[in-house]
Amino acid sequence: MAYKMRIAMTALAVLSVAYPALADDDKIVVGFATAESGFMEAYDKPAQEAAMIRIQEINAAGGLLGKQIEVVKADTKSDRAEGAKAGLSVLDGGADLVVVSCDYDFGSPAALAAEDAGQVSFFLCAESIKAGIQGVGPHSFSASVLAPVQGATMAEWAFKEKGAKDFYRLLDTWTVYNKGICDGFDWMMPKLEAQGAKLVGEDTFKNEDASIAAQITRIKSLPKEPDAIMLCTMMPGAVSAIKQLRAAGINSMILNGSGVDGSYWLSAVPDLSNFFVPVQGSIYGDDPSVDVNKFNATYKEKTGADPSSQYVYPGYVMIDVWAKAVERAGTTKADAVVAELEKMKDEPTLFGTRTFTPELHHQNKARYLIVETKAGKPGVVGNWTISEPVPMEALLK
């Protein structure tokens, strides 16, 4: 009996391999292989909510190619091995687009599964160049902007708009994202030095360091407090570093990557001032675009809370550009969609423009809004687009 059973099971297994889920012709499927539990959930969920908002908008407007978009989900449980399984699981569900975790390390297993199946994958908000052609393959994209662009933007903006001359570079060596911000800063700095800026010192720390007192002592022993400190770090160490810098009486401008956007942590450093963050859109209700503020209201209506940081927005951008490419290609076939995506040059979206090329499925130049925190209150004070795109050498450093 058991033997027969086994034969039957094997036969079934063979059949199911031989006939993979046939693409259903009257619907389009978006598969989310993202974290619904564990560490990454807090980072994936907000961007995914934003993606769902765009999907609902498209469906309400009659769908894509006249078909409704359906959603399948699989939980990566914030685990890389589970990530690969989740990728396969949404592909089995017939996904035409595989959406993967925000972070390259956590998202790449599912993205690679999609690449193997020849399907388009999109990282929700990864900012490493590896989240795309370089790390996954020719069908992979990221919806956010590269980290080096953030460092370069802040350096050029501080020099040109705020008259900052003496820069100090403080790098948290924990993640590739942090290094990326400083890589962009390093690429921009020689250009600014030619115009009179100066790098007066640099130092490193580790995100989990209980204290950065030694690093602070080094800054304080400079003959003059630097005009600006480029702080390449992310949560949770960022809060600790900022708090300690200010507690030691260092009042220089602090320049950051987008990773520290949000007001949720500001209570830890009461009355923080002279603090600057680049963002793709403002969560503070003062975005120059009416549509962004409208989106924020929709987001609040759907989820019960305001966006907690700018990392909500790439989720919306992702569905937006992908749907446009599908519309233009007239099909969800991966190669056709990729070709249409690669034709996009300064494609307008709610949160700035997007450009994809056959070499780069990511943004090496972008308009950033600059948010200044003044006496504990963040608000948009300007915007900046770097004078030239960050070149490939600096991105691959």
Binding site: G38, F39, M40, E41, A42, Y43, S78, L171, T173, E202, D203, T204, F205, K206, E208, D209, A210, S211, A213, A214, Q215, T217, R218, K220, S221, M235, P236, G237, V239, S240, K243, Q244, R246, A247, A248, G249, G262, S263, Y264, W265, L266, S267, A268, V269, P270, A305, S308, S309
Partner: protein, 301 residues
């Protein structure tokens, strides 16, 4: 120079307090309590109302400092004693490796409990904000918190020494640390001593949580891990089970870390910890029994 001394002392204080918490329990139970770091994290989270929102809802953290400090210490002590009663008591006869694995498991339980209640997003909390001001002392400008950390650590160490030397309970604890079965035969009640050790160790975790929380302004479910690692290394260099050794090694580790950060050229600085651990290996090569070997752990022939 003076500034560097203060930096080293304040970082060393954190490590010393952590090492002491581990050494205390190791002394009476031969248990390396890897859940210690998660007790620290728990103490910080105890100040927040459970919620998975990005914005932290500060609850007990709003208490005035004279209530806040005892509250956190009690939290730590309470959780630690609870761990003893619920878990470690059942493993008292097990071999040290089993107990160590148990403590790992327990640490995970605490961490995932926090993950469930508060999510993995680090929460921000302004703890004792008046301490985040710079003060000037002997020409060195340092955050008030740094000074308080050093003073509080000294006070705790002196208090603990007095407690261990002058009180009956302290005597029992030292006796138990030296030779547990002998102490029991002479009328030391094992449960009381072990629970006392856990309570003290937990309260020390609470003290670290307070300092760490006010220094970083962050509550993160993984925040205990790095301190726990350093503290564990300190207890090993200090001589497992030796309280004095643990404290000394804690301060040495803090000093080594700060000095490396100051001395290393900028390209080598990302590898600071590798140099620190290298120094640790050197120390252990020359003193495998630790700087101050505990009498109870020597092999008897």
């Amino acid at each position: 120079m003076l500034q560097i001394l203060f930096d080293a002392l304040s970082l060393g204080s954190l490590y010393a307090l952590g090492a002491l918490g581990i050494a205390l329990i190791f002394g009476v139970m031969r248990l390396v309590n890897f859940a210690h770091g998660d007790v620290i994290a728990f103490c910080v989270f105890a100040l927040l109302w459970p919620s998975t929102d990005a914005m932290a809802i500060v609850f007990a953290g709003q208490l005035p400092w004279y209530l806040l400090v005892p509250f956190v210490l009690l939290c730590g002590a309470g959780l630690s004693v609870l761990c003893e009663i619920v878990v470690f008591r059942r493993f008292r006869k097990a071999n040290p490796a089993t107990m160590m694995i148990t403590s790992f498991a327990l640490g995970f339980v605490i961490r995932y409990f926090l993950l469930m209640l508060y999510s993995s997003r680090p929460k921000s909390i302004s703890l004792l904000p008046t301490l985040s001001q710079p003060v000037e002392i002997f020409g060195a400008r340092l955050p008030l918190l740094q000074l308080i950390t050093i003073i509080a650590t000294m006070a705790i160490l002196i208090g603990l020494t007095l407690f261990l030397r002058q009180t009956r309970f302290g005597l029992e604890m030292r006796a138990a640390a030296e030779n547990f079965s002998m102490a029991r035969m002479l009328g030391v009640r094992a449960n009381r001593v072990i629970m006392g050790a856990f309570a003290l160790s937990g309260a020390l975790a609470g003290a670290i949580a307070l300092i760490f929380g006010s220094q970083t302004g962050t509550a993160d479910i993984q925040m205990g891990a790095s301190i726990m690692l350093m503290a564990f290394i300190a207890t090993v260099i200090g001589g497992l089970g030796s309280l004095g050794g643990a404290v000394l090694a804690g301060f040495l580790l803090g000093a080594a870390s700060v000095v490396m950060q100051v001395m290393l050229p900028v390209d080598a600085r990302p590898f600071r910890d590798a140099f620190v651990y290298g120094a640790v290996i050197l120390v252990l090569l020359f003193r495998p029994q630790g700087l101050i070997a505990a009498r109870g752990t020597k092999e008897r022939v």
